[in-house]
Amino acid sequence: DTEVTQTPKHLVMGMTNKKSLKCEQHMGHRAMYWYKQKAKKPPELMFVYSYEKLSINESVPSRFSPECPNSSLLNLHLHALQPEDSALYLCASSQTGIPDEKLFFGSGTQLSVL
């Protein structure tokens, strides 16, 4: 199994809603990532978990809250988002500590904030 699975594929939420994005991989990868991507732009790194511990937070607003319950799962909890947060949210995973290991990406969650 070489897939990263993201759910839901599409999400529409109001600015007062609370929702969560889910990501799962069963490749034994110990690094998991959240990226945000606007249309026709490169992915922007948000968070990295390494061995289930948060290792990188790229100064993301607190309305985004990541969680890594175990080595296979990664969540992104959303609360009080703004319309400018509408984007494609991508999850990725990789081996950790190996420079030639590539990132495996999920298909993403297309988020619209109304």
């Binding site: 990263v4 993201q6 690094a31 990532y33 026709k40 732009k41 490169p42 992915p43 790194l45 990295v48 390494s50 290792s55 990188i56 494609l88 991508l90 990725a92 990789s94 950790t96 500590g97 190996i98 420079p99 030639d100 590539k102 990132l103 495996f104 990406f105 999920g106 298909s107 993403g108 297309q110």
Partner: protein, 114 residues
């Protein structure tokens, strides 16, 4: 600091013709370079990587890339383009000091016309 640049927002090529998508890099230490492709509303898919060794790297779907240290370039090439190659292409470099960080170029939209 690590960075990659993709000087062309868009590349147009006729089906059957060779294609080149350009990437230049700036790194401290050894460059760990990657190419990814993204189809609409999908995650990024790995094409190929350069870590060390031969300057010509072969990857998925008939793509190859040439690493040129003196020109600090890592251009993506394919001898004969297909309409199905039309997509968004990203060059990326892995941070030499923090393997969990990837820096993506701005992306190049490849249009292959029949």
């Amino acid at each position: 600091a690590q960075s990659v640049a993709q000087p062309e927002d868009q590349v147009n090529v006729a089906e059957g013709n060779p294609l080149t998508v350009k990437c230049t890099y700036s790194v401290s230490g050894n460059p760990y370079l990657f190419w990814y492709v993204q189809y609409p509303n999908r995650g990024l898919q790995f094409l190929l990587k350069y870590i060390t060794g031969d300057n010509l790297v072969k990857g998925s779907y008939g793509f190859e890339a040439e690493f040129n240290k003196s020109q600090t370039s890592f251009h993506l090439k394919k001898p004969s383009a297909l309409v199905s190659d039309s997509a968004l292409y990203f060059c990326a470099v892995r941070d030499y000091y923090n393997f969990n960080k990837f820096y993506f170029g701005s992306g190049t939209k490849l249009n292959v016309k029949p």
